[in-house]
């Protein structure tokens, strides 16, 4: 479970004040709201990419408010994927494993598993410049999942994709959740995408979580 208690975040002159919410473990929660409502700021706060001015953020029973991003166990997929253009797909998938000093054999097995799962096996030696939009997002997803995080934060990962590719990545996201039981927090503007994937929809309006929709 992700628990935010009266969290205040600042992004330039924008202030997101006293946000409290609970995201159940294993849920796929979609966060919606107008452009500039603070969705990305909130996501950055949870990921540790933006300092929390006040309040606390807990993941499970651990208070992560002051922990650096890499120690929170959160995978992050930004809108454009933000792939490292100097690494092959294989190197992107093993980047976090290398940082954790996994053995070469263990890294290889994990990369093969992820690649097979995400349909990246034939692309492992390609660089991002040679990938389509959908392929790039699948690599970004694989990279974020590689170190087996407990939470996956997605910032409009499907917004730049065409309808067919979007459906394909939606199916992958459903499978990710089914296979890993990971907690997903997902920002989108697309109501169809939210209805298709989410079991909870949150609306961020005027700096406050205003409306909740619970899907059965």
């Amino acid at each position: 479970m992700i628990t935010l208690h009266q969290v205040t975040l600042v992004a330039g002159s924008f202030v997101l004040r006293d946000v409290s919410l609970e995201i159940p473990a294993g849920s796929h929660t979609v966060l919606m709201g107008r452009t500039g409502s603070g969705k990305t700021t909130l996501l950055e706060g949870i990921c540790g990419l933006r300092p929390v001015q006040s309040g606390t953020i807990r993941i499970g029973s651990v208070d992560v408010t002051l922990l650096p991003p890499g120690q929170r166990g959160i995978g992050f997929v930004p809108q454009d994927g933000a792939l490292f253009d100097f690494l092959t797909v294989r190197q992107q998938l093993s980047f976090a494993l290398d940082l954790r000093a996994w053995s070469a054999e263990r890294q290889k097995m994990r990369v093969q598993t992820l690649a097979a799962w995400l349909g990246l096996t034939s692309l492992l030696d390609r660089y991002p410049q040679g990938l389509s939009g959908g392929e790039r997002q699948r690599v970004a997803l694989g990279r974020a999942l590689s170190f087996q995080p407990t939470v996956l934060c997605l910032d409009e990962p499907l917004s730049a994709l065409d309808d067919d590719t979007r459906s394909e990545v939606c199916a992958i996201l459903k499978e990710v959740r089914a296979r890993t039981g990971i907690t997903l927090l997902h920002i989108t503007h697309n109501r169809f995408e939210a209805d298709r994937l989410a079991d909870r929809i949150l609306f961020l309006r005027d700096g406050h979580i205003e409306h909740l929709t619970q899907h059965s």
Binding site: E44, G70, F95
Partner: protein, 257 residues
């Protein structure tokens, strides 16, 4: 039509200028120039000083360009303007300012242990003052253009700030770093004004290639001056091609530089 004529005239003048050098000299002149011990010393010193200056410039410009691009701090606008001073200042003034600076008591004391003025270190310092400013400008633009999300993703994957910089930011900026290095090298190769004032023009001591051109011209040896100029034209064209190659990413490439 008028614009084409104007542009065409400039390009023709440019080519004619370089062509004039080529047609003025002969392979014999070039060969004789390369055989001269003074000119060979100038080539060696130019290559050595330009390379050292480039390394020093990158050492300073990479962190400074990154700082200027990614951090907001008091006095940033002032620092930004200060960094342009070596670019806009007349070269002779840079040399004169360095000369006066090294007349101050602390630096005169330093010179008793480590001679700088009218010695080889002065050449590197004079080149560095200008080349570094160009390298900082180039790298700042490079870091401005890099997607900060890549760095943020690296942090969530387990990097600390330092690892994110070394493992993600620097490799992503490789084209800009190479462009900054070639620019710094080329600027250093052509630097003359500050070196003349701060290092002097002593043969076989503080003689770099522009100094050779100046010295050969001053004794009326136009053939040798042109031959050395052609060497510098060749180096400049090489650097230009390298910058063009580095600065133009190939979107169809499957393999980055």
């Amino acid at each position: 039509m008028g614009l084409s004529l104007l542009s065409g005239t400039y390009v023709v003048l440019l080519l004619a200028m370089i062509g004039a050098d080529f047609f003025y000299t002969t392979p014999g002149h070039l060969w004789r120039a390369l055989g001269s011990p003074e000119i060979r010393y100038a080539i060696r010193l130019s290559l050595l000083s330009c390379s050292l200056t480039t390394l020093l410039s990158l050492w300073v410009a990479v962190p400074m360009g990154y700082l200027m691009s990614r951090r907001r701090f008091p006095g940033r606008a002032l620092l930004d303007a200060l960094l342009d001073i070596p670019i806009v200042l007349p070269p002779l003034v840079i040399g004169l300012s360095l000369l006066i600076l090294f007349q101050s008591p602390p630096l005169r004391a330093l010179e008793r242990i480590f001679p700088v003025t009218y010695a080889i270190p002065s050449i590197i310092l004079a080149q560095f003052m200008v080349a570094c400013a160009f390298a900082v400008r180039t790298l700042r633009t490079t870091f401005d253009e890099l997607n900060p999300r890549q760095e943020q993703v690296a942090l969530t994957l387990g990097c600390n700030r330092s690892q994110a910089f070394w493992r993600v930011v620097l490799p992503s900026a490789r084209r800009g770093i190479l462009t900054a290095a070639t620019l710094a090298w080329a600027r250093s190769l052509g630097e003359f004004g500050p070196i003349l004032v701060f290092s002097g023009a002593t043969r076989m001591k503080t003689e770099v290639l522009p100094t050779t051109v100046f010295l050969e011209l001053s004794v009326g040896n136009l053939e040798a001056a042109v031959a050395v100029s052609l060497l510098m034209v060749g180096a400049a064209v090489g650097v230009l091609l390298l910058i063009r190659h580095c600065g133009r990413p190939d979107p169809t490439s499957l393999h980055p530089l």
